[in-house]
């Protein structure tokens, strides 16, 4: 039905007189198109323009992809978080320099044993509708997100708070209660949080927008609130969210928190196509774009000069291995697979050097990342790989590679990996299992994959622990488990100081790298570009996207 579109069908017969004496006119048209084609003539770069002065006021426009929800607990989409980050102050935020937790809506967050935490609410905080931000505003928001039957997207982030299991019965039954046992509202400004186990990284977790407080209006009309969220942040909604078109924010009148905004207004224009958004940025109708398509990297660098930036994000790609399949059981074989992959070559050929080869299980911007932690295992050493491969007894049968079809680059790099395994290790029988994300998810979660698969991890909070626990913790997809690894993680979680906990996490990472259930491939980097109208652009790897409140506007 939908393919019946004639305007897109390529091979339809043209009229009987097609092409007769069409030569000269055709040539003229092609010449005209070429003359006008973009890229042939360079636009004058306005790199020489100084940054806009740091005066408050003005408005700027950010390109965005349609979010799913604007209520903090209902979403984990980075597009939604970019907006929510302007509308809400979560309890803490992360320092842009090194990712450590800094109080925001909270005045302080303390614990003696890493298990019982006391959150003191910053006095005088208010929502945009005047309602005061109290300890209860946090408790009701967290309870709603943790309550399974609400089906909120951030539900899993609350799993470490005592009482989570009661709100999420495994058999899908109705929970006996609607409140987390681990949350206790002591008074208006004090919230006591009890976790199921000590967790030293808890303050970082609280920077995630799902932990922001919600006013009572969020529960009287949830659908209306999702279109017009009332937050406690530097910006307030300016009219409703116009789905697929725009979201407008304006300076929140009574905001007295720690991040007063510079610009008066922020407009988000919603695009389906990133290419179209980039075109609008080039046309000067959009001021900021957080994710320039990788294919436009060279063009962006040429057009935007110093107003184009590439920096490592927290996202990593891995090749996961099905350890329940005996053929993948030997760590030597897994290391051989890893050494046969030319990470630098692939990031250069397929990602225009926008991605960086991985040398550790965690992304480069994470405090505690050790350059070269993976050592020779992640270096491209085809000869050593072949030797190790043969020593491990080689590989029999078909090697199946699993990946989703959501992005064409997945197939491109999987093809490159397959070719390298063929050439360097002599595995000739390789087939692709390419399918939709909806199909692949259940296969991987059910441990039904019979070959290596694409595993991606988007970091929740900048801690080595987040990668290790998320990827290789309880019930992970690879089927790998190691008590020494679990112990090291638990010791890190219970440690009193950050330095001490990182040392334990490093022990855990070393164990995982030695056994290699998961082969690190590359670290994603965010490409951003912005117009000469705005300045003080801080794209923070730790918090979603652009720091809206810091941007200054030429006006």
């Amino acid at each position: 039905m939908l393919s019946a579109a004639p305007s897109t069908a390529p091979g339809r017969a043209s009229g009987p007189e097609a092409g007769r004496r069409a030569g000269p006119a055709l040539l003229a048209l092609v010449a005209l198109l070429l003359a006008l084609a973009p890229g042939c003539a360079r636009r004058g770069a306005d790199d020489a323009l100084p940054d806009p002065p740091a005066v408050p006021g003005g408005a700027y426009t950010v390109a965005l992809t349609e979010p799913d929800h604007l209520t903090p607990g209902r979403t984990t989409s980075s597009y939604a978080l970019q907006v929510i980050q302007g509308l809400f102050d979560p309890p803490v935020t992360l320092d842009p320099a090194d990712g450590h937790a800094v109080p925001l809506a909270a005045e302080s967050l303390t614990s003696d044993d890493q298990r019982v935490w006391t959150l003191r609410v910053r006095p005088g905080g208010a929502f945009h509708n005047g309602e005061a931000v109290t300890a209860r505003s946090f408790a009701t928001a967290w309870n709603a997100a943790a309550y399974g039957p609400n089906g909120w997207g951030s539900n899993g982030y609350f799993s470490q708070i005592d009482g989570y299991d009661a709100l999420n019965p495994a058999d899908g039954a109705q929970p006996p209660t609607r409140e987390l046992a681990g949350l206790e509202v002591v008074d208006d400004t004090t919230l006591r949080v009890t976790l199921t186990a000590p967790f030293s990284q808890f303050p970082m977790l609280l920077a995630f927008p799902a932990f922001a407080p919600l006013p009572s209006a969020a529960f009287t009309d949830p659908a209306g609130y999702d279109r017009h969220p009332v937050g406690n942040g530097p910006y307030a909604m300016d009219g409703d969210w116009r789905h697929n078109q725009r979201i407008d924010l304006r300076r929140a009148a009574g905001y007295a928190g720690p991040r007063p905004p510079m610009a008066d207004q922020v407009h988000f224009r919603i695009f389906t196509s990133k290419d179209t958004a980039f075109t609008e940025l080039r046309a000067g109708h959009v001021d900021f774009m957080a994710s320039v398509p990788a294919a436009r990297a060279y063009e962006a660098k040429r057009t935007f000069g110093r107003r184009y930036s590439v920096r490592p994000s927290g996202t990593m790609d891995y090749l996961g291995l099905p350890l329940w399949d005996q053929r993948y059981a030997k760590p030597e074989l897994r290391r051989a697979l890893s050494m046969a992959i030319d990470r630098r070559g692939i990031t250069r050929a397929i990602f225009n050097e926008v991605f960086a080869p991985a040398d550790s299980l965690v992304a480069a911007m994470i405090p505690g990342h050790r350059a070269g932690a993976c050592g020779d295992t992640c270096a491209y050493r085809p000869a050593a790989a072949k030797e190790l491969f043969d020593r491990a007894g080689g590989f029999t049968g078909t090697l199946e590679l699993y990946f989703a079809n959501s992005d064409p680059t997945y197939e491109q790099w999987m093809t490159a990996v397959a070719n390298e395994l063929k050439q360097n290790l002599g595995i000739h029988d390789i087939v692709f299992r390419k399918m939709s994300g909806a199909d692949l998810g259940p296969i991987l979660n059910g441990r039904k994959a019979t070959g290596p698969y694409r595993q991606n991890w988007v970091v929740d909070y900048p801690s080595v622990q987040n990668y290790l626990a998320g990827l290789l913790g309880r019930d992970n997809r690879t089927g790998w488990s190691n008590p020494a690894f679990d112990d090291a993680l638990a010791r890190g979680n219970a440690a009193a100081t950050p330095a001490e906990s990182i040392a334990h996490y490093h022990d855990a990472e070393d164990i995982a790298l030695a056994e290699l259930p998961l082969i690190p491939l590359w670290n994603w980097q965010d490409q951003t570009a912005w117009s000469s109208r705005i300045g003080n652009v801080l794209v923070d790897p730790y918090v979603a996207g652009l720091h809206l409140e810091r941007v200054t506007v030429r006006h």
Binding site: S7, L29, A37, G156, S436, G441, P442, N445
Partner: protein, 308 residues
């Protein structure tokens, strides 16, 4: 004629039932789990998964789901998207965009296409004719997304004659460029169809007779030749009205127009059953109506074709 139209409208009912059932089956038989697909590489907690499956009836058997959908349809309930919005509401916001785009494109096709076709036919073999032939060949040969991106870059960004994307310019400003791109293939096709059909009829005996009895040239062309030459063109333009609505997927994507083409593209990616079925039903209705109008027009253009 009235009975004919009534009968044709009744035919639309089984067609609608069959298409909705077919689409339901196709969405249903796809393996996998759309909710897990939404979450990417992060497992969804089992309690949340169970809740969302129940909310969107993902575990119901095919017939139960289909009849529940039909029941909902009778009360105007088209189901809801995975973000919990009623499909009827999202369609209400979007159909106007697609309709404006489709009708603008359709008008361009009719006026430009027929105009160019007649112009070329009357100047057969001269430069005007050759230019039309070359231009239409080029347009038919180039895929619509290339035409779209080029038009956007040249006419939108470099020359600044049109808005680059979005609907904020309102109708007709914001719709002209995308409609032109959407119509490009159709304009070329209609021009060729008109030209060929007109040339054939201009050679007919009755045209010579009309000329011999002294009728003026433009009267011969407009009253006697063009009218019946337009039958294949009307057939094409009729079906085209439906196709333009469905074919807007690419154009709406490039020009960032929040219409139903863009929505069906997203819904298929997310495997949002109710949205896909809802939009498809709407498109089938448009196709049925367009076909009916075409058949009625036949009788008006050529009295030899009658409907009983």
């Amino acid at each position: 004629m009235g009975r004919y139209i009534a009968r044709r409208l009744l035919y639309a009912i089984p067609v609608l039932l069959a298409t909705t059932f077919l689409i339901h089956t196709m969405v249903f038989v796809l393996p996998g789990d759309p909710i897990q697909g939404l979450a990417g590489d992060r497992p969804v907690p089992p309690a949340v998964l169970a809740e969302l499956h129940e909310r969107y009836h993902l575990d119901d058997p095919l017939f139960a789901r289909y009849f529940a959908y039909l029941g909902g349809l009778l009360t105007g309930d088209l189901g809801s998207t995975f973000t919990g919005e009623p499909v009827a509401d999202t369609l209400a916001g979007r159909w106007q965009v697609t309709l404006r785009l489709g009708l603008t494109a359709w008008c361009l096709e009719t006026v430009l296409g027929v105009g160019l076709g007649v112009w070329a036919a009357l100047r057969k073999g001269r430069w005007a004719d050759n230019t039309v032939l070359a231009g239409t060949t080029l347009v038919i040969a180039v895929p619509v997304y290339i035409v779209g991106y080029l038009a956007q870059l040249i006419l939108g960004v470099r020359l600044g004659w049109f808005p680059v994307s979005g609907t904020e310019g309102g109708w007709p400003t914001a719709y002209l460029l995308p409609a032109l791109v959407l119509a490009s293939f159709g304009v070329a096709y209609v021009a060729r169809l008109t030209r060929a059909s007109l040339l054939e009829n201009l050679r007919a005996d009755y045209v010579r007779t009309a000329g011999a009895k002294g009728l003026r040239r433009h009267r011969i062309v407009l009253r006697h030749t063009l009218r019946n030459s337009l039958i294949p063109v009307v057939t094409f333009l009729g079906v085209e009205l439906g196709s333009l609505m469905a074919g807007a997927v690419v154009t709406e994507y490039i020009f960032n127009l929040p219409g139903i083409g863009q929505q069906v593209f997203q819904a298929i990616q997310l495997r949002e059953g109710p949205t896909v079925v809802g939009i498809t039903t709407l498109l089938v209705l448009v196709f049925c109506l367009a076909n009916l109008v075409v058949d009625v027009l036949y009788g008006l253009l050529d009295p030899r074709i009658r409907h009983e």
